[in-house]
Symmetry: C2
Protein backbone atom coordinates (compact mmCIF):
# COMPACT_ATOMS: atom_id res chain seq x y z
CA UNK A 1 0.00 0.00 0.00
CA UNK A 2 1.11 3.57 -0.70
CA UNK A 3 2.53 5.16 2.39
CA UNK A 4 0.91 8.27 3.89
CA UNK A 5 3.35 11.14 4.50
CA UNK A 6 2.66 14.63 5.72
CA UNK A 7 4.97 17.62 5.19
CA UNK A 8 4.51 21.11 6.50
CA UNK A 9 5.42 24.53 5.18
CA UNK A 10 6.55 27.13 7.68
CA UNK A 11 3.22 29.00 7.82
CA UNK A 12 1.50 26.89 10.45
CA UNK A 13 3.75 24.14 11.82
CA UNK A 14 1.74 23.78 15.04
CA UNK A 15 -1.36 22.75 13.11
CA UNK A 16 0.70 20.29 11.04
CA UNK A 17 2.08 18.72 14.22
CA UNK A 18 -1.41 18.47 15.70
CA UNK A 19 -2.66 16.76 12.53
CA UNK A 20 0.26 14.34 12.67
CA UNK A 21 -0.50 13.57 16.26
CA UNK A 22 -4.16 12.82 15.32
CA UNK A 23 -2.88 10.51 12.59
CA UNK A 24 -0.17 9.03 14.83
CA UNK A 25 2.36 9.87 12.11
CA UNK A 26 5.78 11.52 12.30
CA UNK A 27 6.01 14.84 10.45
CA UNK A 28 7.84 14.43 7.13
CA UNK A 29 11.45 15.60 7.29
CA UNK A 30 12.19 18.64 5.15
CA UNK A 31 14.49 21.65 5.36
CA UNK A 32 12.57 24.85 4.76
CA UNK A 33 14.67 27.97 5.05
CA UNK A 34 15.84 30.83 2.90
CA UNK A 35 18.99 32.01 1.21
CA UNK A 36 20.65 35.30 2.07
CA UNK A 37 18.72 37.12 -0.68
CA UNK A 38 15.35 35.88 0.58
CA UNK A 39 14.81 33.12 -1.97
CA UNK A 40 13.18 30.07 -0.42
CA UNK A 41 15.40 27.00 0.02
CA UNK A 42 13.74 23.63 0.36
CA UNK A 43 15.06 20.11 0.57
CA UNK A 44 12.97 17.03 1.25
CA UNK A 45 15.01 15.02 3.72
CA UNK A 46 13.38 11.62 3.38
CA UNK A 47 12.45 9.26 0.60
CA UNK A 48 8.94 9.89 -0.80
CA UNK A 49 9.02 7.66 -3.88
CA UNK A 50 5.57 6.25 -4.47
CA UNK A 51 4.18 7.83 -1.30
CA UNK A 52 0.77 9.46 -0.83
CA UNK A 53 2.00 12.90 0.22
CA UNK A 54 0.07 15.69 1.94
CA UNK A 55 1.59 19.18 2.19
CA UNK A 56 0.01 21.51 4.72
CA UNK A 57 0.41 25.23 4.22
CA UNK A 58 -1.92 28.05 5.17
CA UNK A 59 -1.92 31.22 3.10
CA UNK A 60 -1.24 33.31 6.16
CA UNK A 61 0.92 36.36 6.54
CA UNK A 62 3.35 36.89 4.87
CA UNK A 63 0.91 35.51 2.34
CA UNK A 64 3.10 35.65 -0.77
CA UNK A 65 5.93 33.85 0.97
CA UNK A 66 3.48 31.21 2.19
CA UNK A 67 2.14 30.64 -1.32
CA UNK A 68 5.58 30.48 -2.97
CA UNK A 69 6.82 28.13 -0.27
CA UNK A 70 3.88 25.80 -0.89
CA UNK A 71 4.55 25.80 -4.64
CA UNK A 72 8.27 25.13 -4.25
CA UNK A 73 7.59 22.37 -1.74
CA UNK A 74 5.12 20.72 -4.12
CA UNK A 75 7.70 21.04 -6.91
CA UNK A 76 10.37 19.36 -4.78
CA UNK A 77 8.02 16.51 -3.80
CA UNK A 78 6.84 15.98 -7.36
CA UNK A 79 10.44 15.76 -8.59
CA UNK A 80 11.13 13.31 -5.76
CA UNK A 81 8.59 10.93 -7.34
CA UNK A 82 5.76 11.19 -4.84
CA UNK A 83 2.84 9.18 -6.15
CA UNK A 84 0.19 11.75 -5.32
CA UNK A 85 0.40 15.22 -3.76
CA UNK A 86 -2.50 16.77 -1.88
CA UNK A 87 -2.14 20.44 -1.03
CA UNK A 88 -3.73 20.91 2.40
CA UNK A 89 -4.62 24.59 2.64
CA UNK A 90 -6.56 25.27 5.85
CA UNK A 91 -6.85 28.97 4.95
CA UNK A 92 -7.00 29.67 1.23
CA UNK A 93 -5.64 33.16 0.53
CA UNK A 94 -6.64 35.72 -2.09
CA UNK A 95 -10.15 34.22 -1.88
CA UNK A 96 -11.82 37.64 -1.71
CA UNK A 97 -10.39 38.42 -5.15
CA UNK A 98 -12.66 35.86 -6.74
CA UNK A 99 -14.55 37.95 -9.31
CA UNK A 100 -14.31 41.11 -11.36
CA UNK A 101 -16.32 43.42 -9.13
CA UNK A 102 -14.66 46.40 -10.83
CA UNK A 103 -13.21 46.84 -14.30
CA UNK A 104 -9.58 45.79 -14.85
CA UNK A 105 -8.94 43.93 -11.62
CA UNK A 106 -7.35 40.49 -11.37
CA UNK A 107 -9.11 37.34 -10.25
CA UNK A 108 -6.27 36.40 -7.97
CA UNK A 109 -8.05 33.44 -6.39
CA UNK A 110 -8.14 31.82 -9.83
CA UNK A 111 -4.46 32.63 -10.34
CA UNK A 112 -3.60 30.98 -7.02
CA UNK A 113 -5.68 27.92 -7.99
CA UNK A 114 -3.88 27.73 -11.33
CA UNK A 115 -0.36 28.01 -9.95
CA UNK A 116 -1.03 25.36 -7.29
CA UNK A 117 -2.04 23.01 -10.08
CA UNK A 118 0.92 24.08 -12.22
CA UNK A 119 3.30 23.34 -9.35
CA UNK A 120 2.04 19.77 -9.34
CA UNK A 121 -0.72 19.31 -6.78
CA UNK A 122 -3.03 16.41 -7.61
CA UNK A 123 -5.76 17.44 -5.20
CA UNK A 124 -6.63 20.11 -2.67
CA UNK A 125 -8.03 19.90 0.83
CA UNK A 126 -9.17 23.21 2.28
CA UNK A 127 -11.73 24.65 4.68
CA UNK A 128 -14.48 27.25 4.47
CA UNK A 129 -13.50 28.79 1.15
CA UNK A 130 -14.65 32.40 1.11
CA UNK A 131 -16.82 31.43 -1.86
CA UNK A 132 -17.66 27.81 -2.71
CA UNK A 133 -17.26 28.74 -6.38
CA UNK A 134 -13.48 28.74 -5.89
CA UNK A 135 -13.70 24.93 -6.05
CA UNK A 136 -14.57 25.39 -9.69
CA UNK A 137 -11.36 27.38 -10.28
CA UNK A 138 -9.55 24.04 -10.02
CA UNK A 139 -9.58 21.18 -12.48
CA UNK A 140 -8.38 18.78 -9.80
CA UNK A 141 -10.49 17.38 -6.92
CA UNK A 142 -11.11 19.84 -4.09
CA UNK A 143 -12.51 18.94 -0.69
CA UNK A 144 -13.80 21.96 1.19
CA UNK A 145 -14.27 21.18 4.89
CA UNK A 146 -16.43 23.21 7.27
CA UNK A 147 -15.34 24.41 10.69
CA UNK A 148 -19.00 24.52 11.71
CA UNK A 149 -18.99 21.31 13.79
CA UNK A 150 -15.95 22.52 15.72
CA UNK A 151 -17.54 25.89 16.55
CA UNK A 152 -20.83 24.19 17.31
CA UNK A 153 -19.28 21.73 19.75
CA UNK A 154 -17.81 24.59 21.70
CA UNK A 155 -21.03 26.62 21.79
CA UNK A 156 -22.98 23.55 22.87
CA UNK A 157 -20.51 22.79 25.66
CA UNK A 158 -20.66 26.37 26.89
CA UNK A 159 -24.45 25.97 27.18
CA UNK A 160 -25.11 29.49 25.87
CA UNK A 161 -28.83 30.02 26.46
CA UNK A 162 -31.33 31.91 24.26
CA UNK A 163 -28.95 31.77 21.34
CA UNK A 164 -29.64 33.67 18.13
CA UNK A 165 -27.21 33.28 15.24
CA UNK A 166 -26.58 36.57 13.45
CA UNK A 167 -25.19 37.01 9.96
CA UNK A 168 -23.12 40.22 9.90
CA UNK A 169 -24.18 40.91 6.29
CA UNK A 170 -26.43 39.62 3.54
CA UNK A 171 -23.57 37.58 2.04
CA UNK A 172 -23.24 35.39 5.12
CA UNK A 173 -26.87 34.38 5.56
CA UNK A 174 -26.50 30.84 4.25
CA UNK A 175 -23.65 30.07 6.59
CA UNK A 176 -25.50 31.56 9.58
CA UNK A 177 -28.68 29.71 8.64
CA UNK A 178 -26.91 26.33 8.52
CA UNK A 179 -25.45 26.99 11.93
CA UNK A 180 -28.73 28.19 13.45
CA UNK A 181 -30.56 25.17 12.07
CA UNK A 182 -28.07 22.71 13.54
CA UNK A 183 -28.22 24.45 16.92
CA UNK A 184 -32.00 24.83 16.71
CA UNK A 185 -31.46 28.54 17.32
CA UNK A 186 -33.10 31.54 15.71
CA UNK A 187 -31.56 33.50 12.88
CA UNK A 188 -31.06 37.25 12.48
CA UNK A 189 -29.43 39.28 9.74
CA UNK A 190 -27.73 42.64 9.81
CA UNK A 191 -28.64 44.85 6.89
CA UNK A 192 -26.20 47.76 6.56
CA UNK A 193 -27.56 50.67 4.54
CA UNK A 194 -26.37 54.09 3.61
CA UNK A 195 -29.56 56.11 3.04
CA UNK A 196 -27.82 58.81 1.01
CA UNK A 197 -24.33 59.65 -0.32
CA UNK A 198 -23.16 61.59 2.74
CA UNK A 199 -25.22 59.90 5.39
CA UNK A 200 -23.91 57.61 8.08
CA UNK A 201 -24.44 53.89 7.73
CA UNK A 202 -27.54 52.54 9.43
CA UNK A 203 -27.46 49.04 10.89
CA UNK A 204 -30.85 47.35 10.70
CA UNK A 205 -31.29 44.01 12.38
CA UNK A 206 -33.79 41.72 10.71
CA UNK A 207 -34.95 39.33 13.40
CA UNK A 208 -35.09 39.56 17.17
CA UNK A 209 -32.04 39.80 19.42
CA UNK A 210 -33.67 41.50 22.42
CA UNK A 211 -32.62 39.73 25.64
CA UNK A 212 -30.82 37.03 23.65
CA UNK A 213 -27.26 35.77 23.35
CA UNK A 214 -26.27 36.78 19.83
CA UNK A 215 -23.60 34.82 17.96
CA UNK A 216 -22.20 36.74 15.01
CA UNK A 217 -20.91 34.24 12.48
CA UNK A 218 -18.59 34.90 9.54
CA UNK A 219 -16.11 32.91 7.48
CA UNK A 220 -13.23 35.17 8.45
CA UNK A 221 -12.44 38.08 10.72
CA UNK A 222 -9.84 40.30 9.08
CA UNK A 223 -9.71 43.91 10.34
CA UNK A 224 -12.79 43.14 12.50
CA UNK A 225 -14.67 46.27 11.37
CA UNK A 226 -17.79 44.39 10.27
CA UNK A 227 -17.96 42.14 13.30
CA UNK A 228 -17.44 44.92 15.84
CA UNK A 229 -20.05 47.13 14.18
CA UNK A 230 -22.40 44.18 14.12
CA UNK A 231 -21.80 43.48 17.80
CA UNK A 232 -22.61 47.07 18.69
CA UNK A 233 -25.81 46.93 16.63
CA UNK A 234 -26.88 43.79 18.50
CA UNK A 235 -26.18 45.38 21.87
CA UNK A 236 -28.05 48.54 20.80
CA UNK A 237 -31.02 46.36 19.96
CA UNK A 238 -30.99 44.86 23.44
CA UNK A 239 -28.95 41.66 23.06
CA UNK A 240 -27.90 40.33 26.46
CA UNK A 241 -24.47 39.40 25.22
CA UNK A 242 -22.74 39.05 21.87
CA UNK A 243 -20.31 36.37 20.74
CA UNK A 244 -18.41 36.19 17.48
CA UNK A 245 -17.28 33.06 15.68
CA UNK A 246 -15.37 32.52 12.46
CA UNK A 247 -13.36 29.87 10.66
CA UNK A 248 -10.36 32.02 9.81
CA UNK A 249 -8.84 34.54 12.20
CA UNK A 250 -6.92 36.71 9.74
CA UNK A 251 -6.85 39.46 12.39
CA UNK A 252 -4.84 42.09 10.52
CA UNK A 253 -4.34 45.79 11.18
CA UNK A 254 -6.54 47.15 13.98
CA UNK A 255 -8.36 43.84 14.56
CA UNK A 256 -7.03 42.92 18.00
CA UNK A 257 -7.57 46.35 19.49
CA UNK A 258 -11.05 46.62 18.01
CA UNK A 259 -12.12 43.22 19.29
CA UNK A 260 -10.69 43.74 22.74
CA UNK A 261 -12.36 47.15 23.10
CA UNK A 262 -15.69 45.95 21.72
CA UNK A 263 -18.67 44.75 23.70
CA UNK A 264 -18.04 41.18 22.50
CA UNK A 265 -17.93 38.50 25.21
CA UNK A 266 -15.72 36.03 23.37
CA UNK A 267 -14.33 35.68 19.82
CA UNK A 268 -14.02 32.13 18.51
CA UNK A 269 -11.46 31.41 15.81
CA UNK A 270 -9.83 28.18 14.62
CA UNK A 271 -6.15 27.38 14.23
CA UNK A 272 -6.36 27.47 10.40
CA UNK A 273 -4.17 30.55 10.83
CA UNK A 274 -1.59 30.57 13.66
CA UNK A 275 -2.29 33.10 16.40
CA UNK A 276 1.38 33.83 17.09
CA UNK A 277 0.73 35.40 20.45
CA UNK A 278 -2.37 37.36 19.42
CA UNK A 279 -4.31 35.71 22.27
CA UNK A 280 -2.09 37.60 24.69
CA UNK A 281 -2.95 40.96 23.13
CA UNK A 282 -6.61 40.06 22.86
CA UNK A 283 -7.69 37.65 25.62
CA UNK A 284 -11.23 37.56 24.18
CA UNK A 285 -9.91 35.27 21.47
CA UNK A 286 -10.67 31.59 21.96
CA UNK A 287 -8.87 29.22 19.59
CA UNK A 288 -10.53 25.95 18.58
CA UNK A 289 -8.47 23.34 16.77
CA UNK A 290 -9.40 21.96 13.36
CA UNK A 291 -6.55 19.45 13.54
CA UNK A 292 -8.84 16.45 14.20
CA UNK A 293 -11.08 17.56 11.31
CA UNK A 294 -8.12 17.78 8.91
CA UNK A 295 -6.55 14.64 10.34
CA UNK A 296 -9.73 12.66 9.75
CA UNK A 297 -10.16 14.08 6.23
CA UNK A 298 -6.56 13.18 5.36
CA UNK A 299 -7.01 9.68 6.71
CA UNK A 300 -10.13 9.20 4.62
CA UNK A 301 -8.60 10.63 1.45
CA UNK A 302 -5.64 8.32 1.92
CA UNK A 303 -7.96 5.33 2.44
CA UNK A 304 -10.11 6.34 -0.56
CA UNK A 305 -13.07 6.82 1.76
CA UNK A 306 -15.65 9.56 1.37
CA UNK A 307 -15.06 12.74 3.34
CA UNK A 308 -18.55 14.08 2.73
CA UNK A 309 -19.88 12.92 6.10
CA UNK A 310 -17.46 15.40 7.69
CA UNK A 311 -19.44 18.18 6.03
CA UNK A 312 -22.16 18.25 8.62
Amino acid sequence: NRELKLFSGSANPALARAICSYLDLPLGAATVSSFSDGEIRIRVEENVRGADVFVTQSCCSPVNDSIMEMLIMIDALKRSSANRITAVIPYFGYARQDRKDQPRVPISAKLVADIITTAGADRVLTMDLHASQIQGFFNIPVDNLYALPVLMDYITKRKVSDLVVVSPDAGGVERARAFAKRLQANLAIIDKRREGPNQAQVMNIIGDVQGKSALLLDDMIDTAGTIVQGAQACLDKGAREVWAGCSHGVLSGPALERLQQSGLTEVLVTDSIPLRGKEQKCPKLKVLSVAPLFGEAIRRIHEDESVSSLFV
Copy 2:
Protein backbone atom coordinates in the same frame (compact mmCIF):
# COMPACT_ATOMS: atom_id res chain seq x y z
CA ASN B 1 -1.68 49.48 -35.23
CA ARG B 2 -1.62 47.96 -31.75
CA GLU B 3 -0.67 50.50 -29.17
CA LEU B 4 2.47 50.01 -27.05
CA LYS B 5 1.86 50.30 -23.30
CA LEU B 6 4.26 49.75 -20.45
CA PHE B 7 3.23 49.00 -16.86
CA SER B 8 5.49 48.63 -13.87
CA GLY B 9 5.35 46.52 -10.75
CA SER B 10 6.62 48.06 -7.54
CA ALA B 11 9.99 46.26 -7.53
CA ASN B 12 11.90 48.70 -9.73
CA PRO B 13 9.81 51.73 -10.72
CA ALA B 14 12.86 53.89 -11.46
CA LEU B 15 14.00 51.53 -14.22
CA ALA B 16 10.47 51.44 -15.67
CA ARG B 17 10.37 55.24 -15.75
CA ALA B 18 13.78 55.35 -17.44
CA ILE B 19 12.62 52.83 -20.05
CA CYS B 20 9.49 54.94 -20.66
CA SER B 21 11.61 58.01 -21.07
CA TYR B 22 13.77 56.19 -23.66
CA LEU B 23 10.58 55.20 -25.50
CA ASP B 24 9.00 58.63 -25.01
CA LEU B 25 5.97 56.92 -23.54
CA PRO B 26 3.93 57.66 -20.41
CA LEU B 27 4.03 54.91 -17.78
CA GLY B 28 0.79 52.90 -17.81
CA ALA B 29 -1.60 53.87 -15.01
CA ALA B 30 -2.15 51.16 -12.42
CA THR B 31 -2.78 51.02 -8.69
CA VAL B 32 -0.42 48.59 -7.02
CA SER B 33 -0.83 48.40 -3.27
CA SER B 34 -1.79 45.90 -0.63
CA PHE B 35 -4.70 45.13 1.64
CA SER B 36 -4.44 45.19 5.41
CA ASP B 37 -3.61 41.47 5.54
CA GLY B 38 -0.75 41.81 3.03
CA GLU B 39 -2.57 40.49 -0.03
CA ILE B 40 -1.59 42.40 -3.16
CA ARG B 41 -4.22 44.73 -4.60
CA ILE B 42 -3.94 45.71 -8.25
CA ARG B 43 -6.16 47.71 -10.55
CA VAL B 44 -5.26 48.70 -14.09
CA GLU B 45 -6.38 52.31 -14.37
CA GLU B 46 -6.48 52.73 -18.13
CA ASN B 47 -7.95 50.94 -21.09
CA VAL B 48 -5.64 48.25 -22.53
CA ARG B 49 -8.02 46.51 -24.93
CA GLY B 50 -6.08 45.30 -27.94
CA ALA B 51 -2.84 46.91 -26.72
CA ASP B 52 0.68 45.47 -26.92
CA VAL B 53 1.45 45.49 -23.21
CA PHE B 54 4.82 45.20 -21.48
CA VAL B 55 5.00 44.63 -17.72
CA THR B 56 8.34 45.34 -16.07
CA GLN B 57 9.11 43.62 -12.79
CA SER B 58 12.42 42.53 -11.37
CA CYS B 59 12.54 39.54 -9.03
CA CYS B 60 14.26 41.60 -6.38
CA SER B 61 13.82 41.57 -2.63
CA PRO B 62 11.25 40.81 -1.27
CA VAL B 63 11.45 38.29 -4.09
CA ASN B 64 8.24 36.35 -3.44
CA ASP B 65 6.19 39.55 -3.29
CA SER B 66 7.80 40.71 -6.53
CA ILE B 67 6.93 37.46 -8.28
CA MET B 68 3.34 37.34 -7.01
CA GLU B 69 2.85 40.99 -7.94
CA MET B 70 4.03 40.30 -11.48
CA LEU B 71 1.66 37.33 -11.79
CA ILE B 72 -1.34 39.25 -10.47
CA MET B 73 -0.56 42.20 -12.72
CA ILE B 74 -0.36 39.92 -15.76
CA ASP B 75 -3.67 38.36 -14.70
CA ALA B 76 -5.34 41.76 -14.45
CA LEU B 77 -4.01 42.85 -17.87
CA LYS B 78 -5.03 39.58 -19.52
CA ARG B 79 -8.57 39.91 -18.14
CA SER B 80 -8.60 43.50 -19.40
CA SER B 81 -8.22 42.15 -22.95
CA ALA B 82 -4.64 43.18 -23.69
CA ASN B 83 -3.68 41.79 -27.08
CA ARG B 84 -0.25 40.57 -26.03
CA ILE B 85 1.59 40.65 -22.72
CA THR B 86 5.37 40.61 -22.50
CA ALA B 87 6.84 40.06 -19.04
CA VAL B 88 9.94 42.26 -18.83
CA ILE B 89 12.08 40.72 -16.08
CA PRO B 90 15.44 42.52 -15.89
CA TYR B 91 16.55 40.24 -13.04
CA PHE B 92 15.10 36.75 -13.17
CA GLY B 93 14.91 35.30 -9.64
CA TYR B 94 15.34 31.73 -8.41
CA ALA B 95 17.69 31.22 -11.37
CA ARG B 96 20.31 29.46 -9.26
CA GLN B 97 17.77 26.75 -8.48
CA ASP B 98 17.86 25.54 -12.06
CA ARG B 99 18.84 21.90 -11.66
CA LYS B 100 18.79 19.03 -9.21
CA ASP B 101 22.30 19.32 -7.85
CA GLN B 102 21.21 17.34 -4.80
CA PRO B 103 18.49 14.71 -4.29
CA ARG B 104 14.97 15.95 -3.50
CA VAL B 105 15.39 19.65 -4.22
CA PRO B 106 13.02 21.74 -6.31
CA ILE B 107 13.84 23.27 -9.67
CA SER B 108 12.38 26.58 -8.67
CA ALA B 109 13.52 28.43 -11.81
CA LYS B 110 11.32 26.09 -13.83
CA LEU B 111 8.43 26.65 -11.43
CA VAL B 112 8.80 30.42 -11.82
CA ALA B 113 8.87 30.02 -15.61
CA ASP B 114 5.74 27.89 -15.48
CA ILE B 115 3.73 30.21 -13.27
CA ILE B 116 4.62 33.25 -15.39
CA THR B 117 3.19 31.41 -18.38
CA THR B 118 0.19 30.23 -16.38
CA ALA B 119 -0.56 33.81 -15.34
CA GLY B 120 -0.84 34.74 -19.00
CA ALA B 121 2.47 36.10 -20.31
CA ASP B 122 2.84 35.68 -24.07
CA ARG B 123 6.56 36.37 -24.11
CA VAL B 124 9.46 37.19 -21.82
CA LEU B 125 12.23 39.75 -22.07
CA THR B 126 15.03 39.32 -19.57
CA MET B 127 18.76 39.90 -19.17
CA ASP B 128 21.75 37.75 -18.33
CA LEU B 129 19.91 34.67 -17.12
CA HIS B 130 22.07 32.85 -14.62
CA ALA B 131 21.99 29.91 -17.04
CA SER B 132 20.94 30.28 -20.68
CA GLN B 133 19.15 26.95 -20.35
CA ILE B 134 16.41 28.71 -18.41
CA GLN B 135 15.12 29.96 -21.78
CA GLY B 136 14.19 26.35 -22.45
CA PHE B 137 12.07 26.25 -19.28
CA PHE B 138 9.56 28.38 -21.19
CA ASN B 139 7.34 27.37 -24.07
CA ILE B 140 6.86 31.01 -25.06
CA PRO B 141 9.45 33.23 -26.80
CA VAL B 142 12.21 34.48 -24.50
CA ASP B 143 14.69 37.24 -25.36
CA ASN B 144 17.71 37.21 -23.10
CA LEU B 145 19.63 40.50 -23.33
CA TYR B 146 23.23 40.98 -22.24
CA ALA B 147 24.47 43.84 -20.09
CA LEU B 148 27.93 43.32 -21.60
CA PRO B 149 27.80 46.34 -23.98
CA VAL B 150 26.79 48.61 -21.11
CA LEU B 151 29.64 47.46 -18.87
CA MET B 152 32.03 47.57 -21.81
CA ASP B 153 31.12 51.15 -22.73
CA TYR B 154 31.95 52.25 -19.22
CA ILE B 155 35.26 50.39 -19.05
CA THR B 156 36.24 51.77 -22.44
CA LYS B 157 35.40 55.33 -21.37
CA ARG B 158 37.37 54.94 -18.17
CA LYS B 159 40.40 54.00 -20.34
CA VAL B 160 41.51 51.29 -17.90
CA SER B 161 44.96 50.26 -19.18
CA ASP B 162 46.50 46.76 -19.21
CA LEU B 163 43.16 45.18 -18.65
CA VAL B 164 42.81 41.49 -17.92
CA VAL B 165 39.31 40.05 -17.56
CA VAL B 166 39.10 37.50 -14.76
CA SER B 167 36.44 34.86 -14.31
CA PRO B 168 35.90 34.31 -10.56
CA ASP B 169 35.19 30.60 -11.14
CA ALA B 170 35.17 27.95 -13.82
CA GLY B 171 31.42 28.48 -14.42
CA GLY B 172 31.91 32.07 -15.58
CA VAL B 173 34.64 31.50 -18.15
CA GLU B 174 32.45 31.86 -21.23
CA ARG B 175 31.07 35.20 -20.07
CA ALA B 176 34.53 36.50 -19.19
CA ARG B 177 35.94 35.27 -22.48
CA ALA B 178 33.26 37.08 -24.53
CA PHE B 179 34.02 40.25 -22.65
CA ALA B 180 37.80 39.92 -22.98
CA LYS B 181 37.49 39.24 -26.68
CA ARG B 182 35.38 42.31 -27.32
CA LEU B 183 37.78 44.48 -25.30
CA GLN B 184 40.82 42.78 -26.86
CA ALA B 185 42.00 42.11 -23.33
CA ASN B 186 43.58 38.99 -21.87
CA LEU B 187 41.66 36.38 -19.91
CA ALA B 188 42.41 34.81 -16.55
CA ILE B 189 40.49 32.26 -14.50
CA ILE B 190 40.37 31.65 -10.78
CA ASP B 191 40.44 28.01 -9.86
CA LYS B 192 39.36 27.48 -6.26
CA ARG B 193 40.46 24.17 -4.80
CA ARG B 194 40.27 22.50 -1.46
CA GLU B 195 43.17 20.06 -1.37
CA GLY B 196 41.69 17.94 1.41
CA PRO B 197 38.59 17.76 3.58
CA ASN B 198 39.84 20.02 6.37
CA GLN B 199 42.21 22.20 4.41
CA ALA B 200 41.73 25.84 3.55
CA GLN B 201 40.68 26.77 0.06
CA VAL B 202 43.51 27.62 -2.31
CA MET B 203 42.95 30.24 -5.01
CA ASN B 204 44.95 29.50 -8.14
CA ILE B 205 44.94 32.03 -10.93
CA ILE B 206 45.27 30.59 -14.39
CA GLY B 207 46.67 33.38 -16.54
CA ASP B 208 48.73 36.45 -15.75
CA VAL B 209 47.50 39.37 -13.65
CA GLN B 210 50.90 40.69 -12.49
CA GLY B 211 51.02 44.48 -12.89
CA LYS B 212 47.65 44.47 -14.66
CA SER B 213 44.22 45.99 -14.04
CA ALA B 214 42.06 42.97 -13.31
CA LEU B 215 38.33 43.09 -13.98
CA LEU B 216 36.45 40.35 -12.18
CA LEU B 217 33.31 39.61 -14.11
CA ASP B 218 30.23 37.68 -12.95
CA ASP B 219 26.54 37.58 -13.78
CA MET B 220 25.56 38.57 -10.25
CA ILE B 221 27.07 39.67 -7.00
CA ASP B 222 25.00 38.36 -4.11
CA THR B 223 26.79 38.09 -0.77
CA ALA B 224 30.04 39.12 -2.55
CA GLY B 225 32.07 36.30 -0.99
CA THR B 226 33.34 34.96 -4.32
CA ILE B 227 34.17 38.33 -5.80
CA VAL B 228 36.00 39.63 -2.72
CA GLN B 229 38.04 36.43 -2.42
CA GLY B 230 38.84 36.66 -6.11
CA ALA B 231 39.92 40.29 -5.75
CA GLN B 232 42.28 39.36 -2.94
CA ALA B 233 43.74 36.52 -5.00
CA CYS B 234 44.41 38.94 -7.88
CA LEU B 235 46.07 41.44 -5.56
CA ASP B 236 48.14 38.66 -3.98
CA LYS B 237 49.32 37.69 -7.45
CA GLY B 238 50.49 41.24 -8.13
CA ALA B 239 47.54 42.89 -9.90
CA ARG B 240 47.91 46.68 -9.92
CA GLU B 241 44.24 47.19 -9.23
CA VAL B 242 41.07 45.10 -9.28
CA TRP B 243 37.65 46.03 -10.56
CA ALA B 244 34.46 44.03 -10.36
CA GLY B 245 31.58 44.09 -12.78
CA CYS B 246 28.27 42.24 -12.88
CA SER B 247 24.85 42.43 -14.46
CA HIS B 248 22.83 41.95 -11.30
CA GLY B 249 23.70 43.56 -7.99
CA VAL B 250 21.73 41.34 -5.63
CA LEU B 251 23.96 42.56 -2.79
CA SER B 252 22.38 40.70 0.11
CA GLY B 253 23.62 40.03 3.63
CA PRO B 254 27.22 41.09 4.22
CA ALA B 255 27.80 42.20 0.60
CA LEU B 256 28.11 45.96 1.07
CA GLU B 257 30.50 45.72 4.00
CA ARG B 258 32.62 43.12 2.26
CA LEU B 259 32.88 45.11 -0.95
CA GLN B 260 33.65 48.38 0.80
CA GLN B 261 36.35 46.77 2.96
CA SER B 262 37.89 44.88 0.05
CA GLY B 263 40.79 45.92 -2.11
CA LEU B 264 38.43 46.52 -5.05
CA THR B 265 38.72 49.88 -6.82
CA GLU B 266 35.18 50.04 -8.14
CA VAL B 267 32.21 47.67 -8.38
CA LEU B 268 30.05 48.02 -11.48
CA VAL B 269 26.43 46.91 -11.32
CA THR B 270 23.41 47.71 -13.47
CA ASP B 271 20.00 49.00 -12.42
CA SER B 272 18.33 45.64 -13.13
CA ILE B 273 17.89 45.60 -9.34
CA PRO B 274 17.25 48.92 -7.56
CA LEU B 275 20.06 50.05 -5.27
CA ARG B 276 17.73 51.67 -2.71
CA GLY B 277 20.48 53.70 -1.09
CA LYS B 278 23.12 50.97 -1.12
CA GLU B 279 25.48 53.33 -3.00
CA GLN B 280 25.60 55.47 0.15
CA LYS B 281 26.69 52.54 2.32
CA CYS B 282 29.14 51.34 -0.30
CA PRO B 283 30.50 54.23 -2.42
CA LYS B 284 32.56 51.78 -4.48
CA LEU B 285 29.36 50.81 -6.27
CA LYS B 286 28.89 52.35 -9.69
CA VAL B 287 25.46 51.90 -11.25
CA LEU B 288 25.11 51.69 -15.03
CA SER B 289 21.66 51.88 -16.56
CA VAL B 290 20.23 49.17 -18.79
CA ALA B 291 17.14 51.30 -19.50
CA PRO B 292 18.21 52.19 -23.07
CA LEU B 293 18.97 48.51 -23.74
CA PHE B 294 15.53 47.42 -22.51
CA GLY B 295 13.87 50.40 -24.17
CA GLU B 296 15.37 49.52 -27.54
CA ALA B 297 14.51 45.83 -27.16
CA ILE B 298 10.89 46.70 -26.29
CA ARG B 299 10.65 49.04 -29.27
CA ARG B 300 11.92 46.32 -31.58
CA ILE B 301 9.67 43.61 -30.14
CA HIS B 302 6.73 45.96 -30.57
CA GLU B 303 7.74 46.71 -34.17
CA ASP B 304 8.33 43.01 -34.88
CA GLU B 305 11.99 43.73 -35.55
CA SER B 306 14.81 41.45 -34.55
CA VAL B 307 16.47 42.11 -31.20
CA SER B 308 19.40 39.82 -31.89
CA SER B 309 21.73 42.65 -32.96
CA LEU B 310 21.47 43.92 -29.37
CA PHE B 311 23.18 40.73 -28.25
CA VAL B 312 26.67 41.90 -29.09
